[in-house]
Amino acid sequence: MTGPLQATTLPETLSGLLGLNTNDPLQWFLAALIASALVGTLMLTNTALVIWAKRKITAAFTDRIAINRVGPFGLLIIVADAVRLLSKELIVPDEVDRPAYDLAPLVLASSALLGFAVIPMGNGIQIADPETGLAYVFAVASLASLGLVMAGYASNNKYSFLGSLRAVAQNLAYEIPLVLTGVSVVIFAGTLRLSEIVAAQSETLFTLGGLAIPSWYAFVNPFAFVLFMAANLAEVGRNPFDIPEAPNEIVAGYMTEYSSVYFVLLYLGEFIHVFLGAAIVTTLFLGGPAGPVLPGIVWFLIKIWAVFLFTQWTRSAVPRVRIDQLIEIGWKGMLVLSIANLVLTAVIVGVLV
């Protein structure tokens, strides 16, 4: 077990190092800005890796070799792709709803990035630790669907339009189960502050052959974990719930009319969003950055990549559901199950305490 309860956030540490006064809003803001730049760069680098990793992972599942030409293991493809995409011509279709069309990529990319503000990534890397951390992170994560709707509706393209309608329907169906399941964790932890939720998971659940199994909520409440993983897949729009994009049906959904840097932002934003989902799963159920031997931040990255790998795995083997089936699964299955989970958790906690 590394790291005791995190006492300080990254801006505070930085203020200490740089000798800034945390009580002066301006100096505090400066420290936070530096911290944010660090975290933002970390997450963007992490997501840029996806360009390479995603192809390699898909290739592994489909028995192919995949990229290995540019640089070692084809890693330089990231640079090549970035340059290629950024230097593409930006084609803005006729009669798009201009402000919304331009804003959508921004909204998607920044909202996903914003979620990382409260995620404890280990080794004191956390920008802020507000009391309502969990509520905040759910709120920010669901902002992404707003981006999708804006992109889809502003494009003036019929496929995009269908895609944005689907995005709304999907969001309606999965937001509530997601939040209700997440909240069941709060019953155990008794707080919305994410650092405390992580800390609560560091106790030893039981010892198995000398190995201390921590009380990660994935072990304590595996049912909630499975439910949350499924709802999270829908929240980030991955198979079997990737219907807002569904290339075989509606070409590329809300993305159809985007090119050049706008496409990059949508693409990147989507993957930051996947990682944000993974980070929430990690924080709520997998003990956050906790882990033996390695530093916390490494464990944190390993865990979010594991969740990302899972999304790619389902992509290779699970069929896409239909929109009406999605609504039914969401409202008749997941909602009922998540309410049951909440009540059961409350009862169990009540009896045990």
Partner: protein, 137 residues
């Protein structure tokens, strides 16, 4: 203790600046070759047939209304979950803290059941499209 929301604001600034930075880099790099036809919207290679500013059957109106109700419910559940454990540890009886919430959720479940029975929580099949379908025996 310093205000965490200022720190979050800083990240928001970074979160907007990074995409804006990428946009300006792209602006410097990318060519601009305006051509007639390039800017028409994509419709599978055919000439686009009208725009999307039309009245369209969205089929999930009822679900959307239900969502509003249930979303507020989750908001109400938040504070309860936060104090639940500490209240129990401080000696509040299980009945006192659990029962009201159970009643609350129970009412919602009854509501969901009612909506379910009335077919509000499913994708509404379009009567027009369904009538196109040849009736099967």
């Amino acid at each position: 203790m310093s205000n965490p929301w200022i720190a979050i604001g800083a990240l928001a600034l970074v979160g907007i600046l990074i995409p804006l930075g990428m946009m300006s880099v792209s602006k410097l790099l990318r060519p601009r070759v305006p051509e007639q036809g390039k800017t028409s919207t994509y419709e599978s290679g055919e000439i686009p047939t009208g725009d999307t500013r039309i009245r369209f059957n969205i089929q999930y109106y009822m679900v959307a209304l239900l969502f509003v109700v249930f979303d507020i419910e989750t908001v109400l559940i938040f504070p309860w979950t936060v104090i639940y454990r500490s209240a129990l540890e401080n000696g509040v009886s299980l009945m006192e803290i659990l029962a009201p919430m159970l009643v609350f959720i129970g009412v919602l479940v009854v509501g969901l059941g009612w909506a379910w029975r009335n077919g509000a929580v499913k994708w509404v099949r379009s009567p027009r499209a369904a009538s196109e379908r040849r009736t099967k025996q």
